[in-house]
């Protein structure tokens, strides 16, 4: 029955069954333009056809949630009438091919998602994975300067992020960008094409032949033929985007603007269909009215172009002039390209000629979902027998220095200083510690933000790994004194057509759902990036958690570095023999194996509450979570951030705790805090009340990290190791 060639179907990335379904739904064959439109919207990237059924398991509601998944970005109430709007998104495939522009346009896209909600973007974070250095140097440098290049030019500070290097990402890097914006809650916008007769106004860049089929491209594996699809990469124009954002801010209170939708993957087709679908309306688009950058573009090309820096505004009929006046003030082109209709169809015309006519729901909600086969992978290669490994590191200071110099643990300063992290005069906790914090000018409110992923742990056990990512993000937020309140996530996986990858996806989402419920953290937005494979090999399953926290009074915020000499240093939480998947095993014994640390979610919650209570009471001078590299690395980081040493009695292990696990194990639910001695009684009280174990490690001061009679490392040596790690 397929009256359409296989080649054509491949071009639009539809399967034969899907094509049959299209014909059934339409009760006719689609024409070429229609087929292209359906093809992109039914791509994994736009339709979430594989992940959608699984994503429903994630909790998305809560008392602070103003907007859950389904809009351009999620939004939460952060108090005093303010909403924080945020989302994370991947740009892995474009970045693999053109690192600078791929990463830059990734930032551009996520800024537009937030701006489309009516918010002013005020912070960007990134989460990056590459293959090992030096082979990945070009990609790494290009991506970092691309992220900085876009954010710096727009004037939104890049306040945080993370980067890891693992062979699993060598062919397929991960480039995720998160943006957070602020808006008075009453002015939150939605992407709805409401009100028959209202106008569709396209604003910003002119439309060119950029990235046609970018969405389906992102849903395909990278192979040699990617070469031919290369024009899918675009050149961003952050300058134009900055003007677009300012113009939208000027229109913030305009009642002439009914809805705003950014143009991203699948361009106009997606933007118009989504906006109409959300409003239950239809739309008519005249492609002849779309301002072009190039001559001779076909309706197909106009509808599928992914030219950057464009926005669709739904404007009250008759009031377009006042909106266009604001856009012109910013030298932005705009044009009325169509209107809202009431018949549930998306009509595309070129002048008088009908080009396409499709029911909106065929483009959006009726895309068939896919449930695939799941099968756990063979994990035998990751088996670990700790009894075969000696318990005492031969030379703890040498091991510590090697860990500090490891590209995954070393100083991120060479990256951070390429990002303007201060513009906006709001960054009250700068990047480099745990979470960053910005204040809301005119209030005492502070918003803490972090991104955390856990590909290594997820490779070993996706369920546990997912929980660890969430728990670690929550600890990073709490370490600033802010309460973790909501999440945006980006799920980076290989091809779900492989049963073991689909299994990883299922397990990860279950783990996330579980941790979110236990810690009372709704997921309000997110993104899924599948088909991260090269030559048949998948990346580690990599859920990236973007978490947001709130503190009512940012003057009570904490940072990770020690503050004063003579403060007590405590370890909060219990340590177990958690060496599975640790950086220690890798650096010291060349082993990547084992089971990741268990996350006791009840205990995790208790520790978070304890830290928040002690911070709120003003008892602490610093707080830092214990993560990769374990306790000794955490202590070294506290020293390095403050250029202060620490000195304590020799460390001893009780029960069956191994000495290497005490120093370098990655047991969850732990913090290192410092406090003035007078806080001690009160801390002990609170610890008892929250049933938290605390252990005195020593006292701040001096220029070394020392355990008397056991070992010591100088600040200078640690600094040298830490600073040189990225080469």
């Amino acid at each position: 029955m397929t009256a359409v060639s296989k080649k054509k179907l491949r071009e639009v990335a539809l399967s034969e069954e899907e094509y049959k379904r299209v014909v059934e739904l339409l009760d006719r064959q689609p024409n070429d333009v229609e087929l292209g439109m359906i093809g992109v919207l039914w791509s994994e990237h736009c339709s979430y056809k594989t992940s959608r059924p699984l994503l429903r398991r994630l909790p998305s509601s809560g008392s602070r949630v103003l907007q859950g998944p389904g809009e351009n970005a999620g939004a939460i109430d952060v108090g005093e009438g303010w909403a924080a709007v945020f989302k994370i998104e991947s740009h892995n495939h474009p970045s693999a091919i053109e690192p600078y522009q791929g990463a830059a346009t990734g930032v551009g896209g996520i800024l537009r998602d937030v701006a489309a909600m009516g918010a002013r973007p005020v912070a960007v974070l990134d989460s990056l994975r590459f293959g090992p250095l030096p082979e990945s140097r070009r990609l790494f440098d290009g991506v970092v300067s691309g992220i900085g290049g876009y954010g710096n030019c727009v004037g939104v500070p890049t306040v945080g992020g993370e980067v890891y290097f693992e062979p699993a990402y060598a062919g397929n890097p991960i480039v995720n960008a998160m943006c957070l914006g602020l808006v008075p809650a009453a002015r939150l916008r939605k992407a709805r094409a409401e009100g028959v007769g209202n106008l569709l106004l396209l604003a910003g860049a002119d439309t060119g032949r950029d990235g046609i089929h970018g969405a389906s491209f992102a849903s395909l594996e990278l192979d040699d033929s990617s070469e031919e699809r290369r024009p899918a990469v675009q050149v961003g124009n952050p300058f134009l985007e900055k003007c677009l954002i300012e113009a939208l801010q000027e229109l913030a209170e305009s009642t002439a603007v009914i809805g705003i939708q950014d143009l991203g993957a699948a361009g106009l087709t997606s933007a118009v269909a989504e906006a109409a679908s959300k409003a239950g309306s239809g739309a008519l688009v005249d492609v002849a009215e779309v301002p072009r950058r190039e001559q001779g573009m076909s309706p197909y090309e106009v509808m599928l172009s992914e030219s950057q820096e464009r926005m669709l505004l739904i404007v009250k009929r008759g009031r377009q002039a006042e909106v266009q006046k604001v856009l012109e003030r910013w030298d932005l082109h705009s044009a009325v390209i169509g209107m809202v209709t009431g018949d549930g169809h998306l009509d595309v015309v070129e002048g008088r000629e009908q080009v396409a006519r499709l029911p909106v729901d065929v483009l959006t909600s009726l895309c068939p979902t896919r449930t695939l086969e799941a099968k756990p992978p063979d994990h035998s290669r990751y088996r670990l027998d700790l009894t075969e490994i000696r318990e005492e590191p031969a030379d703890p200071p040498a091991t510590l220095l090697r860990l500090l110099a490891h590209p995954n643990l070393c100083s991120r300063r060479p990256i951070l200083r390429q990002y303007d992290h201060m513009v906006g005069n709001a960054t009250v906790v700068r990047p480099g510690g745990d979470a960053a914090m910005i204040r809301i000018n005119g209030t005492q409110l502070g918003i803490a933000m972090t991104t955390d992923g856990s590909g290594r742990y997820c490779e070993l056990d996706p369920y546990l790994g997912a929980q660890i990512a969430i728990a670690e993000a929550a600890r990073n937020i709490a370490a600033t004194g802010a309460r973790p309140v909501a999440i945006t996530d980006c799920l980076n996986f290989g091809s779900p057509d492989k049963p073991d990858v689909y299994w990883q996806l299922e397990e990860t989402i279950s783990g996330m759902a579980n941790a979110c419920r236990a810690l009372d953290l709704p997921i309000v937005s997110g993104n899924v990036s599948l088909y991260n494979d090269t030559d048949g090999r998948s990346i580690y399953p990599t859920p990236v958690i973007g978490m947001v926290g709130v503190i009512d009074d940012y003057s009570k915020r904490l940072e990770a570095g020690f503050k004063e000499d003579g403060d007590f240093v405590l370890l909060v939480g219990v340590t177990a023999n958690d060496l599975g998947g640790s950086h220690y095993l890798e650096v010291e014994h060349g082993v990547f194996a084992g089971r990741p640390p268990e996350v006791d979610l009840l205990q995790e919650r208790a520790v978070l509450e304890f830290i928040l209570a002690t911070a709120a009471a003003g008892l602490l001078r610093s707080a830092h979570d214990v993560a990769e590299g374990g306790m000794l690395v955490a202590l070294a980081e506290c020293c390095l951030l403050s250029e202060k040493g620490m000195r304590g009695p020799p460390l001893s292990t009780g029960g069956d705790l191994r000495f290497d696990a005490l120093l370098f194990g990655e047991t969850q639910g732990r913090f290192v805090v410092s406090l003035p001695s007078r806080s001690m009684p009160e801390i002990q009280n609170l610890a008892r009340k929250h049933r938290i174990e605390i252990q005195m490690l020593g006292m701040t001061g001096g220029d070394q990290l020392e355990f008397e009679g056991q070992f010591k490392v100088s600040l200078e040596e640690m600094k040298r190791a830490h600073q040189g790690g990225l080469g």
Binding site: N152, Q418, M422, V423, V428
Partner: protein, 235 residues
């Protein structure tokens, strides 16, 4: 005393300057749109940081042709205070109100980090509250802040004492290691001969509050405010 802050398309330090002037300094601020010629009676015009016109072609190259700049040039020629910060400094060089040019950082990377500034001139309206030889900690945030002038111009600037700030170590030593971008003679900021037009790459508006990590920048804003009060009272 009224500050004017110019807004070009692509400017982003306008809001930060406005916030400092209004909320920290408690002075009056007017935003001056690039398409307008009216300086609204401002006593000091700030050309703030950002990427005017995307820094396309060259930093500051296109901004200099905007209508507001015609008025700014006239204002400066009549002794008005014109203060270029970061992109504003670049615009002033392109306009010719200040000598030299700012080229790409020698490291070929954007740099956002605190630097130390050795204060060479404490007799200007901008630095009246400082002492010569004082050291300030102020952040930079630029990709093209590498000050260049040909040998003749450079020696003239030095002879005239037009260098206001040089990159230095925390102890005040002006050494190559303290130079973040390759600027000739560690130059971070210069004035015109008359002393009314100042250009500097570092961002004083970013360190005007202890909560943001320092207050050294506020000293410059206060200098302007205090000096201008005297001038205005006297006149």
């Amino acid at each position: 005393m009224k500050f004017g802050v110019v807004v070009f398309p692509g400017t982003w330090s306008d809001r930060d300057c406005g916030q400092v002037i209004e909320q920290v300094l408690g002075a009056e601020v007017r935003f001056l749109w690039h398409k307008d010629r009216d300086l609204q009676g401002c006593d000091c015009v700030i050309l703030p940081g950002g990427f005017s016109y995307g820094d396309h072609l060259r930093c500051g190259a296109l901004a200099r042709f905007s209508p507001v700049m015609e008025s700014v040039v006239t204002f400066a020629e009549h002794g008005g205070l014109v203060w270029g910060i970061c992109n504003g400094f670049q615009v002033l060089c392109e306009t010719g109100l200040l000598p030299g040019a700012l080229i790409r950082n020698d490291v070929c990377e954007f740099r956002c980090e605190p630097v130390h500034l050795f204060v060479e001139r404490a007799d200007l309206i901008y630095t009246a509250n400082l002492d010569r030889g004082a050291v300030l900690e102020v952040p930079i945030s630029h990709g093209e802040g590498n000050y260049f002038a040909d040998a003749a111009t450079l020696s003239q600037i030095e002879q005239n004492g037009q260098v206001v700030f040089r990159y230095c170590q925390p102890d005040g030593l002006v050494v190559p290691a303290a130079n973040p971008n390759g600027s000739l003679h560690n130059i971070a900021g210069i004035v015109n001969e008359a002393g009314n037009v100042l250009g500097m790459m570092p961002h004083p508006e970013r360190c005007a509050e202890a909560e943001l990590g320092g207050e050294d920048g506020l000293k410059l804003f206060n200098s302007v405010l205090d000096s201008m009060r005297e001038v205005l009272v006297a006149s």
